[in-house]
């Protein structure tokens, strides 16, 4: 029973990679390498250390951006969720941010903040923050009323009710927002490297494409997906550690 999820994961990996391999062999397109070619390119990139220096560069805006987005995003989300005034003031900004065509706005960011780290961090934040803010504020606003009433009946202070009831109750949706935000942040980090200055993983992608080394290009894309999945798994572990009973949903379900 315990091994079944692992088995299913492996099975789905085999199916997806098998399909990739077959599609590469047909070939679907001259620019689409097979799975095995991509993996050997990844091994080569790993062995000569290129991938590590690339990630050292890419992770900077990514990690900084995600930390800022998570801390600021949850903070603003709690604030707008609890006060209708701040909701009125801030929510439209994030709705607009989420809907904005970011790639088109990047030249504007470069004009203001240059081509350095600041612009890249901002791209990550613009991608990651709106969904974190909007999810957090929505979740906080929808705390089950009887839980708050229970807190008052058992003499909880406003602060107790906030920290021990409202935030934990909102945590599943806050974490769902974090997961979506982090995924969007990964996209933002690569986008910024493709659109602002080619550094890190974005550089491998751009360069390999320009010399038609498609296996290396797909190897880089594959590696970023793997990293994102690992990161999302880590996030899930943190959630389970903090709010174990929430995983199966609410008592009132």
């Amino acid at each position: 029973m315990r091994n079944r999820p692992l088995f299913l994961k492996l099975l789905s990996a085999v199916i997806v990679f098998g399909a990739w391999e077959i599609a590469g062999r047909i070939p679907v397109s001259y620019a689409f390498p097979t799975f095995l070619e991509s993996m050997s390119a990844l091994a080569a990139l790993t062995l000569d250390g290129t991938i590590f220096t690339a990630y050292a560069e890419t992770l900077k805006p990514l990690v900084v951006g995600i930390i800022i987005s998570a801390v600021l995003g949850i903070g603003i989300g709690l604030w707008t969720g609890l006060s209708s005034k701040f909701d009125w003031l801030f929510s439209p900004i994030f709705v607009v941010m989420q809907a904005a065509p970011l790639a088109a706005l990047i030249p504007l960011l470069i004009m203001v903040y240059g081509i350095g780290l600041t612009s890249k961090v901002l791209v990550v934040c613009i991608m990651a923050m709106p969904v974190i803010v909007l999810n957090t504020s929505g979740a906080v606003r929808n705390t089950p009323y009887t839980l708050k009433e229970m807190g008052r009946a058992f003499l909880g202070t406003e602060r107790d009710i906030m920290l021990k009831i409202v935030i934990p109750a909102a945590s599943p949706i806050i974490f769902a927002g974090l997961r979506l935000g982090v995924s969007a942040g990964f996209i933002g980090a690569i986008l910024s490297e493709l659109k602002i200055t080619p550094t890190g993983v974005g550089d491998i992608i751009t360069y390999s494409r320009s010399i038609a080394d498609y296996p290396s290009m797909y190897a880089a894309i594959f590696s970023i997906i793997v990293l994102a999945v690992l990161f999302l798994n880590l996030l899930e572990k943190i959630e389970r550690l903090l709010f174990g009973g929430n995983i199966r949903g609410y008592v009132s379900d």
């Binding site: 089950p144 009887t146 229970m150 058992f154 202070t157 934990p168 199966r248 609410y250």
Partner: protein
């Protein structure tokens, strides 16, 4: 038939006053134009279980939440042990209809949550919680989460939480309405022995006539629009019978019939 029935006439300053744990005096509650309660007065004898019974929409839960201090009355006042109620207090504990358990917390943390909010140290509150978890028959489930328990067990957690804060008055808002019929019967039997063991005052809101007659020392019947106490019934004769004999006692059946006769015209 040893059944007494009195019109409500709260006697302020009367020598019997000390026997009442909770007194509700001339309480009115309006929601906008709607009068939920009007000039309602009712006394709750110390150490006994009083049910508040009435058709749905008659303001039973509103009254209970006013006593709890969760709602404030438009006019009138509530006294608990002679002190006017201004908000929730340590002398009252609440059992919720929908349990109101923290889904992310284990049984023991849920039971100890009232004490946690009062700032009781962890080891102390957990040993108190442990005792009441045993009392309500949930021993062995300390580390389970609410979603792993049946509806009846969840309400036992809610009950243990209310008992562990050591309040003299227990306010129960239709506590058994969300559990199945068999669990409910077991609960009612357990409640009877709980009232005997614990020297606390129980205020019990229900819409079930049979339940009210089965568990109560005193039944206050509320009639709606606007709510007032129409009569108080004390099923004293059946109180000393064993839990198995109450339901076929002629007095039990008579009271159930009589209450239904006076309520039926208010039920749509």
């Amino acid at each position: 038939m040893a059944m007494s029935q009195t019109r409500v006439a709260p006697k302020r300053g009367d020598e019997h006053d000390v026997e009442y744990a909770v007194s509700v005096r001339d309480v009115s509650k309006n929601y906008g134009d709607v009068e939920a309660l009007k000039d309602l007065s009712l006394d709750f004898p110390r150490g006994q279980l009083t049910s508040i019974l009435g058709p749905s929409g008659c303001g039973k839960t509103t009254l209970l939440k006013i006593i709890a201090g969760l709602l404030s009355p438009t006019s009138g006042e509530v006294e608990v042990n002679g002190k006017a109620v201004t908000g929730p207090g340590p002398d009252r504990a609440f059992v919720f209809q929908d349990f109101a358990l923290l889904p992310w917390a284990s049984v023991i943390r849920n039971v100890a949550f009232g004490l946690e909010l009062r700032g009781v140290a962890r080891s102390e509150r957990e040993s108190i919680a442990q005792k009441y978890i045993q009392n309500v028959g949930l021993g062995g489930f300390e580390n389970s989460f609410p979603h792993e328990l049946s509806g009846g067990m969840r309400q036992r957690v809610g009950l243990a939480r209310a008992l562990s804060v050591d309040a003299q008055v227990l306010l129960m808002d239709e506590p058994f309405s969300a559990v199945d019929e068999q669990t409910r019967r077991k609960f009612q039997e357990d409640l009877l022995s709980l009232v005997q063991q614990e020297s606390r005052t129980f205020i019990f809101v229900t819409h079930s006539i049979e339940e009210a007659v089965y568990v109560s020392d005193q039944i206050a019947i509320l009639l709606p629009r606007p709510s007032r106490v129409s009569e108080i019934i004390k099923p004293t004769g059946i109180r000393n019978k064993g839990t198995d004999d109450i339901r076929r006692d002629p007095e039990y059946l008579d009271i159930v019939d009589r209450i239904w006769a006076s309520l039926r015209s208010y039920v749509e």
